[in-house]
Structures are given as C-alpha cells and as structure tokens.
Amino acid sequence: MTMNNQGRPTSIENASNSNRSGYPSYTGSRGLSQVEGLIYEIGDTHRTGVDLPEVEEFESRLGGMERSGEIGLAGLTEPEAMRHYTRLSRKNYAIDLGLYPLGSCTMKHNPRLNEKVVRLPGLSDIHPLQPISTTQGALDLIDTLAHWLKTLTGMPAVAMSPKAGAHGELCGLMTIRAALEAKGDARSIVLAPESAHGTNPATAALCGYTVKPIPATKDGRVDLEAMKEALGPDVAAIMVTNPNTCGLFEREIIEIADAVHEVGGYFYCDGANFNAIVGKVRPGDLGIDAMHINLHKTFSTPHGGGGPGAGPVVLSEALAPYAPIPYVVAGDEEFDLVEHDTSGKSFGRMTAFHGQMGMFVRALAYMMSHGADGLAKVAEDSVLNANYILASLKDVMSASFNGPCMHEALFDDRFLKDTGVSTLDFSKAMIDEGYHPMTMYFPLVVHGAMLIEPTESESKLSVDQFIGMMRHLVAAAKAGEKDRFSGAPYNAPLRRLDETAAARNPVLRWTKSEQ
C-alpha cells in the first residue's frame, strides 16, 4: 500500500464560505435520502433472486388449466432487492428511531428476544393441522398465555383466536348476542360513547345491532345519567373503553356496569388501553363481562407497519359457553384442542386454525420478561410519563381535561386560536423536528384533538427532549411563524401529500400503459 499523496484531510474552509443551502440534484436524491423506483421500474419478468432446480419432464395433472400469457410480475436479484427494500425502510419513521407518541396506539419498544424465540423451529415451523400429539408444547404455550391473561384481567375464561382488536370486539359481541339469543332475547341496541374507537360502532353493526351514542360529560367521561336514560330492555350491551379514549379512567365504571346489568345487558370493555392498568387493576373487579386485549399494544408484539395483531377476548363465566371454537383443554396428561362444538352453544368460528400463534409467543415472552412486578411497573411508568408530559405542557398548550390522566395526555387546539395554525399543521411541523406526530383529531369529543401517548419505553431524557420540542413549536406558532407549519414538513423524504387527489382519482396499482 502506498499513501495517497494527492488526498488531503477534509477542511471545511471552502464549504463554510458557500452561502447556498444546496443545489437541486440530478438524481432527485438528497444525500442519504435516496429516490427509489417501483419494482416494476427497476426489475423485469425474467430476473429472479431465487435459484430453483430444473424440473424433469413430467405429465401434467392440471387438466388443461395451464396459465398462459404473462402475469407481469417484476423480479429482482437479491442485491437489487436488498437495496430496494433497505432504501424503502429508510423512508419510514419507527419506534427504533424515536418517540412515537400515537395516542391509543401504544407504540412501545419491541424486545428483540421475542423475535428470536418466535423463530425457534419448534414454534415457527409447525402446522396448525398436524397431529395434536405432535404439538403439545404449542398447546401448553397457548394455555400458559391464557392463564396469564385470565390472571391479569381477573376473568375466568378467554377466547384466543381473534386476529386483532376489532376482530376481538366482534368475537365479544357475537358471544354476547349468542348468550342473549339462548335466552330468547337477542335485543337490538348497543350503546357506545361518542368518544369510542370507530371499530366499536362498526363491530356492533356487523352483529346486527343499532348503535346509540352516549354523550360525554364535561370532564371527559361517560355521562352516566344520559346512559341510564338510554338503557332499556332492548339494550344488548354497552361498549366502553377503559381507560377511555381521552386517556382517563372511567370513575363511575362500577355504576356503569351495575346499570347495564340491571336491564339484563352486558358490559363489553374495549381493552385497547389495558396497558395503563395492567398489573394494577383487574377489569374483572370492575364488573365487565367481556374485554379484548390487543397483544400488539399492551404486550408489545410489533405493529409491523399496520399489523399483524392479536385480540384474545376474556369472558365471564356466563358468556364462556358461547365463545367460538377452537379452544385448548388441559387434561391430566396432555393438552387437547377442541375444534368442533358439541354443546350447540358456541356461536361458531372466527378464523381458520387457532389464532395468531406468532403473536402469542411474542406476548408471552414479553410477559415472562416483565413478570408480575414488571408489568405493574409498565402501567406505572406509562402513566407517569404521560402525566409528566401533561404537567410540562399544560401551561402552553390546552389540556382538554384536568388530570391526572392515565397513559396518554389529551390536548385540543384552543392554544392555537388566532395563530392560523391547525392541529394538522402543527403535527406536520413535528415531523421536521424528527418526531412522528401524535394521534390527531381523535377522540372526536374535543376540537382538534392531540392525543399523546409516550409509553413506558421512553427515558426521562427522551421525554424532556420531546417536551422541549413541543414548547418550541408552540412558541413559534404563537410568534406567528405560520409558514413553518402550513408548509411542513420540509425535511421529510416527501413534502405534504395530496390525499384529496388520491381519493378523487384512485390509482391503486402500477400499470404498464401508464408508464
């Protein structure tokens, strides 16, 4: 090796003399922010990243149904594919990159241990329909997770198969309807607070129920009096999220339960926010009859850009017989899987096979890692972080309700009055500061909602930096720096996107002719 004598150590002398912030690039890329085409633009139908053996001549048994003509699938070799998806990945915000304060979504750290154990061949490479005698460990695992869920919620039974929160809601309401029908009293109405997740009314409708909204009180809770007025012999159930979507604990939860039980209805609890009380409060002690648990929220299975999730539903003794198949039964010597209903009571089946095993493994690993002591700390730290944010921002932003809050802090847009900055603009400016925005415009019960959920995964330093950033943006908005907000984001891979045009003329796939 010889030294490169022409090279000189980099000096910033010349660079710092330039007044420009940059030049438009030939490629459209900006340094590490690289433009990436579609697979259809960089690949073709002949290229492949998988070497497969040649096939000897054989007599087809397709019955003359051979596929002719080109499908049009673009292929890439492995180096091209790695570059494509790695470049795409870098256009995503992620928990691994920073605080992800999406209220109601619970973006907490995803432990990598869980990714490791879920890939053990004895857990990942087993078929749902291979003989039950060959999957005893898997059934034990499901039964163990069921035990943890029942213990943490104080409920006697759990249906494991629902595939996500909304699927769990559907499972819970169908169980309720089946139980009511068994008494010859199907009923027709489900009550849900105005602040409910959209999935609640959508689910109730799928169960054939009419949804009646219940207003909120001035302090962000279910209006008990209004609810009592709406109750009657035709009410099948009330669906209440607790802690609710304003990030508040329903103080009158016992009274709500008693009231709905008095008219012969059931109390369905939306457990989306169970992470705030896990290990501290058992929903079974609050008078609920059914509740789904989002394993991808409370128990940290990765959100994966939109899924998959898992939504087991804990059930009361009265509802348990109507739960869907399949379910695991622990015998004296071995585990059995009941795949057919012989009682005639089960309402049916939510999905093929037995549920989201890959999520069960991760969730149980998360639970075992934390233990009874760690899970209670999860709830406490998530609530502590949220209240700390509330306390640190309420002098400059408008807190919608008086604290304490639970795991998320709700603000509305009153503090932006007369600034010309909307909740949306404010959110987009957060992107320029290197943050994912909070949940905005939900819940619907306050104007221009900003729902901030830091989770227990954030250090004090991280939360303090977030608070500092928020205070800085509030000051900028109040100082009249409107352009900073209305034009934001400036520093993201793309500027603001035209969603209206996307919906007016939907282009939902690549087509050859268009290029």
């Binding site: 096939v55 397709l62 149904m65 795409l88 999957t135 996500a164 939860i253 998959p308 996307a502």
Partner: protein, 448 residues
C-alpha cells in the same frame, strides 16, 4: 428491568413536577377497592436467558415440519422462504412502524403496499387488490358481506368443497347480519352443480380453486351463468403458489378473489399470523373492506403514496363502514411482497412447476401402493387418497415412524363417515424424493 428506562430518581423527580407524592396518586380515579394492593399471582420478572430457556422447552415438545417427512397442507403450506425476506422484515424501520397514517414519513411501508397490491392484482388476474386482511378465511367472510353490499341480495351459495373452517368463518361472519348461507354437498371428486342452488335472493357463489381436496375446476361457465343473473362469483385460493401454474380466477370471470398468502414469505407458525389477499374488479373498489394504498403527488410534484378511499373505513364511517377491520396483516404483507419480488414472474412460475411436478411424482408412487386409491383427476400440489383403513389411525401410526403423512380429512369433517378413510396430502418444493420414498414404504407397511 431491562425494558424500563426510568430510574427511581427519575420517577421521584417526575412525580414532584406533577405535584403528587406517590405513583398511586395518579390512579386516584380507580375505585379504591379495585386498585390492587399487591402483585397479581404470577411469576416475577426473568432474565433474557431464562425466558429463552422456557421457550426452548415449549419448542422441544413439538415436532417441527422440517425435521420429518411432512405432508400436511389444507390451507397452510411449508415453502422455502429466502433468508433476505426475514432479514428485511426484521429491520426496525419496518418492524416497529405503525400503520402509515403520516405518509411523509411512511413512504417505505406505503410503496411496499402499492407494489403488493399490484402483485396480488396480477396474480389473481383482477383489476385491484387491497392492502390485506387478517388471513384467507376472514377475507372469505368479508367477500360474502361485500357481495351482499353490491347486489343487495342476502344469500350466499357456498361450495361444499370449500375448506370446512372457511365455511364456518363465512357462517359466523354472516350469522347476525340477516344473511343466509347455503352450503352445497361435499363431493370429493365429482363435479358440483352449484347453479341449481342459485335463486333470486342469491348474491354470490363461493368456490375454492383448487378446491379443498385438490381438484382443479374451470369455473368460467359458472361465472358466465351467474353474470347473466347479476350474481357474483367469489373464488377462494388457499395455496397461492397454484396461480403460478393454473389459469387465474380473473380469466375465469371471478368478481371477487380472496386468498391465503401464507405460502409466499410466511412460515407455518401454527396457523398465524398469515396474510389475507383480497382482489376485485375496478367497479367494486368503493365496496372493498380494509385499507387501500394509492398513488399521488407531494407539494413539489414528486410521486408518493397514501392510504386512500378511507371514507369506506370504520374510523371515518363508523357503523356504516364496509368492515370493522383496522389492524391488518402488515408485516406478513411485506414478507409476501419481498418474497414475490425475489421470485419474479420467472421464479414464481418455476416454483409452481416444481410443486406440481413433485405432487405428480408422489401421486404416481402412491398409486402403486396396495390399499391406496387416488381420488383426484386433477390437482396442483395437493391431492386426496382413499385408504383401506381409517386415515386418522394411519396418520397416528406413521407419527410413531417419525412421518407426518398428511391431514386425515375426518379431522375437519367429524360427522361425514364417507370421508373417514380419506387422507389429504400436500407436496411442495421442500419435499425431497427421500421423504416420498419413506412415506410410500412405511404407508405400505401400515396398510398391509
């Protein structure tokens, strides 16, 4: 606690800032008797190594498919997934991202979804596809509901040769929606006359292709007949690799195509998570359930992608939404699209050919075994054989020989005595000729 960054000092400082003394002062709204005074009755926290040991113990008590000659399919298939797929889906930027609600910082997920939607539309031969459902079975239930929305009729005719658990899911999905589901008779190897079940109230006919027993039927004529009466044809494919070899449902005239995408990019995982595919014709786009990704431009005119047509969805339309789905198959969708991109058209077609060739080979070997009768005239990578003994007993006997020989059909049809001796056998590119010969040899012994 390795996952909790706050220290005791941090906590004390933060409580002081909030203005309370104790953490439980923040739980003041919880009814007093309901706030636990101690810990729940569960084990305490464990080290990473201890947790790992626990899971290794669970895993050790299962027989993994890759460790023995393995022939179970029936809606979930063991295929080889390239290493690059698992590496990519574990990148934190994909793994730990949420649903792409903020498009400016979610273009990675969004562009991958746009490519996924294109691939699914191409494979199924349809105009458009959504960004996924939970799995094939729930997609099937949603298809029945969508057919009702389109036709405003409330009866679905379901083939008796549709996967029995899919039939159960359709029945449950429509149980309380005033829909009627009529299931035709199961016929392992005879043509079904589905058209005779169609009446004025019918909205769609749902068929599986290849069907549960592995048969390949051309539904073109059925599609034509249904369209004459303004009814829809829903085609279900549980082994998506098959469409690399056989005519697409779109070419047959399907109106809605749903599928299980697990075969591409995703492992068996004991039944989930999988990835539901959902495709349809352009004219029915606004009746689609689930998320859709669409192309648009940003403020500087650059191409970008966003979630679109969300006025169909629960967070906007609430009780009038086309579905209650929110979280979908996200990361499994990404695994599917990466694997499909690595395959490309050439690889996908070749993979299908290898699967079919392997199945033909095993079927031919088994046909020579005394006591085995091949029931299929046509098949892709899965077929049904009738044995001279109870199939469940035979499978258990072969487990003793370290072979997982297939699915005794009776497990899913406990009440159909005619099927007690039927065994459903799946073969993929992961099945070696040695595996086949071991099965043939041991099966011959057991059937003697």
């Amino acid at each position: 606690m390795r996952y909790l960054p706050l220290s005791s000092d941090d906590r004390a400082e933060m409580l002081a800032k909030i203005g309370v003394k104790d953490i439980d002062d923040l739980f003041i709204d919880v009814p007093n008797h309901a706030l636990l005074k101690g810990l729940v009755d569960l084990p305490l926290h464990m080290t990473e190594m201890e947790v790992e040991q626990n899971f290794a113990a669970f895993a050790d008590r299962n027989i993994s498919a890759g460790s023995v000659p393995f022939f179970v399919g029936a809606g979930a298939y063991r295929h080889h997934v390239p290493a690059a797929v698992d590496y990519q889906i574990q990148r934190g930027e994909f793994l730990t991202a949420y649903t792409p609600y903020q498009p400016e910082i979610s273009q990675g997920t969004l562009q991958a979804l746009f490519e996924f939607q294109t691939q699914v539309a191409q494979i199924t031969g349809m105009d458009v596809a959504n960004a996924s459902m939970y799995d094939g079975s729930t997609a099937c239930g949603e298809a029945a509901l969508m057919a009702r929305r389109i036709t405003r009729k409330n009866k679905a005719i379901v083939s008796g040769n549709l996967h029995p658990q899919y039939i159960d899911v359709v029945k449950s999905a429509t149980k309380y929606t005033e829909d009627v589901v009529v299931v035709s008779e199961t016929t392992v190897n005879k043509a079904e006359n589905l058209l005779e079940l169609v009446d004025d109230d019918t909205n769609c006919v749902i068929v599986q292709y290849p069907d549960f027993f592995g048969n390949i039927t051309d539904y073109s004529a059925l599609a034509d007949a249904l369209h004459e009466q303004n009814k829809l044809l829903v085609v279900v494919t549980t082994e998506i690799v098959a469409l690399g070899a056989i005519k697409s449902p779109g070419e047959m005239g399907a109106d809605i195509v749903v599928g299980e995408g697990q075969s591409i990019g995703n492992g068996l995982n004991y039944g989930g998570p999988y990835v539901g595919l959902f495709a349809t014709k352009q004219k029915y786009v606004r009746q689609l359930p689930g998320r859709l990704c669409g192309q648009t431009t940003d403020a500087e005119g650059k191409r970008g992608f966003v979630l679109t047509l969300s006025t169909r969805e629960q967070h906007i339309r609430r009780e009038k939404a086309t579905s209650n789905i929110c979280t979908n198959a996200g990361l499994c969708t990404l695994a599917f699209t990466i694997h499909m991109t690595l395959l490309g058209e050439a690889g996908y077609r070749k993979l299908a050919k290898i699967n079919h060739a392997a199945a033909v080979k095993l079927a031919s070997k088994l046909s020579k075994v005394k006591g085995v009768q091949l029931l299929n005239d046509t098949f892709f990578n899965e077929f049904t054989v009738r044995l001279n003994k109870n199939a469940a007993d035979v499978v258990e006997a072969l487990v003793e020989k370290d072979i997982i020989a297939g699915l005794p059909v009776s497990r899913l049809y406990p009440d159909n005595k005619d099927l007690a001796n039927d065994l459903l056998i799946a073969v993929t590119e992961t099945t070696s000729e040695d595996d086949m010969d071991i099965l043939v040899g041991e099966l011959s012994e057991v059937l003697k």
